[in-house]
Amino acid sequence: MLNIEHLTKRYGDKKAVDDLSLRIRPGEIFGFIGHNGAGKSTTLKSAVGILQFDAGTITIGGKDLLAEPVACKKALAYIPDNPDLYEFMSGIKYLNFIADIFGIPAAERQEKIRKYADLFELTGDLAQPISAYSHGMKQKLAVISAWLHDPKLIVMDEPFVGLDPKASHLLKEMMREHCDKGGAIFFSTHVLEVAEKLCDKVAIIKQGRLIKVGTMEEVKGDDSLEEVFLELEAE
């Protein structure tokens, strides 16, 4: 589904991501673990075409992100770490805007908006301007907009930050359901417990370099990573 090969991204002289390769298959919830500033967000942003990278290739569903950016973006949804949405729109206008961009027919979108807004208890606030939303409400709206068009790949940057326990639980269920239907999820976190309970596979990144990929058991069983885990737990 998502194939990253030898990705390198520099900010000036500093390498934020250094020769990183990853493969995320359909049906996988893939956790991307690392401490703050390790290069998680840079990798995620590069994978969804927001950030231009210096070297490497990224393919989504077999399509090259640089050669066919629009086709790749049609297959994915992205939720950033900070949901800065269009504050001048109401919640419903934002969802309709996203639905229009993805060409979702009226009846289908209304059904999905109804379903997910009810699940996240956001229906009553859909007419409100986004500027009046709390951080958690914006995060919920970003999640709903990501699920609107049934993307094959969902990329999320620290998706549970700001969500209440009920919404977090709901999101985890939706992630599992999405992958059970053949979709893939690539998300970043620095909370080991979340990765342990949710992910089929994890990758650990430190100072821009990938240091381990595998199932959580495989990764946790690697004694050489003890220091990394201690650092993450301390965070």
Partner: protein, 532 residues
């Protein structure tokens, strides 16, 4: 602490002068110097020049009639109007809507310090507009009446008093807008309506200014006595400029007392207004039928939504929507007389009337600049268009289309009016339609080009990209410069070609420029947008 906060705000306002967002690094010293020179030329050269001419026309006669105080009342009044006009619409946004209000309030900084930093910013903005009136006014007076210690000291004091009055007026009006905004729905449109009434009054007096000044100079002694009798405060105000220590002391004390009162009133409500979400009541969601729109239509609707959601954006970048058709109506009503008078004045340069009509229309194009800040206004939401499956060129074309729709439609009406009243040949009438329209197209494209090349994405107050960025200055004053060149070049050498050929050349240049810019926006511009 206050200095630190002020530095942060001013750095944001003037960031594009020091920092090249495209190259992600500081500009070189020569480039910074060039930007500052450009800014000074605009403020001192254009605005200062205009008011030097006005000061020269008023000062001599009034000083000779021993009514220097009336000269200062007039020039001071203009400075207050211009300063308040320039900053009032930003005071509300700058004081209460700054995105970092919550952050600063959470830090161990006294609320008074935050307020003072915001107010100093408003003060500097107001001063930026009133000083180009006051400095030439004082200089001309000192030259005409002579320099004495009392005149210089009191003159400088008058300058300070006026800039503080501008600040107080802006604060009171900004505070009133904030209070109203907390209670009203559709506040953007209501703010725009109120502002338009203010602007209408401003232009009414502006157009009447020549008659008023002539009348005033002829009857200066009569008016002078009337003002002294009915509004002694105004007389005292004018006396400050003449070097009257008592008047200066009274006004300095009164201004200080008023400042304290305004500070007291504002500090009581600052935190409540700045942290309010501004909602009157919760709007109930009712599911409505929707239609699937194309991505371009969705983006266009989004851009229109952005434009109409902000009174600040509409007022600073969309006045042409009203002023361009207003010029058309004016031409229908008075156009023939104006054309006859201009025709007689420029009888030696046939075709000048048509060129001047085009000049007026081109100058008004500068009043619509919504494409310029449209890229910067994406701000922290830039990830949305960048992550969606739409080409960057479609996003940019949606931004451009808002300006084209809101400029070309009013312009079509205005050019048809101009063509109708011009009394020129068919070819010139046709060019009177084509030239301003192609120029409006070219200038809209140039606005977007400059907006892409000089983005300002990390703003905390939308006034920064809308009003204070280098991109906006270039486009507004650039249009004035080009329009002036259109008329000036014709009067110098263009008349030898005749209006038809001259306007045809400008039309062709605008069309070619438009094509080149459109090509750049679709290719390099789209790449630059993706790389932001």
């Amino acid at each position: 602490m206050l200095g630190l906060l002020l530095k942060k705000q001013l750095t944001e306002v003037f960031r594009s002068y020091f920092y090249d967002a495209k190259k992600n690094k500081m500009r070189s010293k020569p480039a910074i110097a060039l930007w500052i020179v450009f800014f000074v030329v605009i403020m001192v050269g254009v605005l200062g020049g205009m008011f030097t001419v006005l000061s020269l026309s008023l000062c001599g006669s009034l000083v000779m009639a021993d009514m220097g105080w009336l000269y200062f009342v007039l020039m001071g009044g203009i400075a207050i109007l211009l300063g308040a006009f320039g900053s009032v619409f930003n005071t509300y946004a700058g004081l209460y809507l700054a995105k970092d209000n919550d952050l600063l309030l959470s830090l161990p900084i006294p609320v008074g310090t935050i307020m003072a930093a915001r107010l100093l910013n408003v003060f500097l903005l107001g001063a930026m507009y009133s000083l180009p009136v006051l400095i030439p006014a004082l200089a001309v007076y000192w030259i005409v009446a002579g320099v004495t210690v009392s005149r210089v000291v009191c003159g400088v004091l008058l300058l300070l008093i006026i800039t503080v009055i501008v600040l107080l007026l802006s604060c009171v009006l900004g505070w009133a807008v904030a209070k109203i905004s907390l209670r009203l729905k559709n506040k953007s449109f209501l703010t725009v309506l109120a502002a338009l009434l203010f602007i209408a009054a401003y232009y009414f007096f502006y157009f009447k200014a020549n008659d008023l000044i002539r009348d005033l100079l002829l009857n200066a002694s009569v008016y002078g006595e009337k003002i002294k009798g009915a509004a002694y405060g105004l007389y005292l105000f004018g006396r400050i400029g003449e070097g009257d220590w008592t008047a200066a002391a009274i006004y300095a004390a009164a201004t200080a007392a008023l400042s304290a009162l305004v500070w007291f009133l504002m500090s009581r409500s600052f935190v409540r207004i700045a942290t309010s979400s501004g909602n009157t009541e919760k709007q109930r969601y009712v599911e409505k039928a929707v239609k699937l729109r194309s991505p371009f239509s969705a983006l266009l609707a989004k851009e229109f939504g952005r434009f109409t959601s902000s009174a600040n954006y509409m007022l600073n970048c969309g006045l042409g929507v009203l002023l361009i058709p207003a010029l058309g109506v004016l031409l229908l009503l008075k156009g023939r007389e104006i054309c006859l008078v201009l025709g007689e004045v420029f009888a030696a340069r046939p075709g000048t009337v048509a060129v001047l009509l085009c000049t007026m229309l081109c100058m008004l194009v500068s009043m619509n600049d919504m494409a310029v800040p449209s890229v910067s206004l994406e701000g922290k939401s830039l990830w949305i268009p960048q992550s969606l499956p739409v080409k960057a060129k479609t996003v940019l074309r949606a931004k451009l289309s808002v300006q084209l729709i809101l400029t070309l439609l009013p312009m079509l009406f205005a050019v048809l009016c101009a063509s109708f009243v011009s009394g020129e040949t068919l070819a010139v009438r046709l060019l009177l339609v084509l030239m301003p329209l192609t120029f409006a197209l070219f200038w809209s494209l140039l606005g977007l080009f400059v907006g892409i090349r000089m983005p300002l994405l990390n703003w905390t107050d939308e006034t920064a990209p809308i009003k204070q960025s280098g991109a906006i200055l270039i486009i507004i004053f650039g249009a004035w410069g080009v329009a002036a060149a259109l008329a000036g070049l014709y009067l110098l050498i263009g008349y030898r070609l005749g209006a038809t050929a001259y306007l045809a050349i400008w039309t062709a240049l605008s069309a070619v420029g438009s094509l080149l810019l459109l090509r750049w926006i679709d290719s390099k511009g789209a790449e630059a947008f993706e790389a932001l």
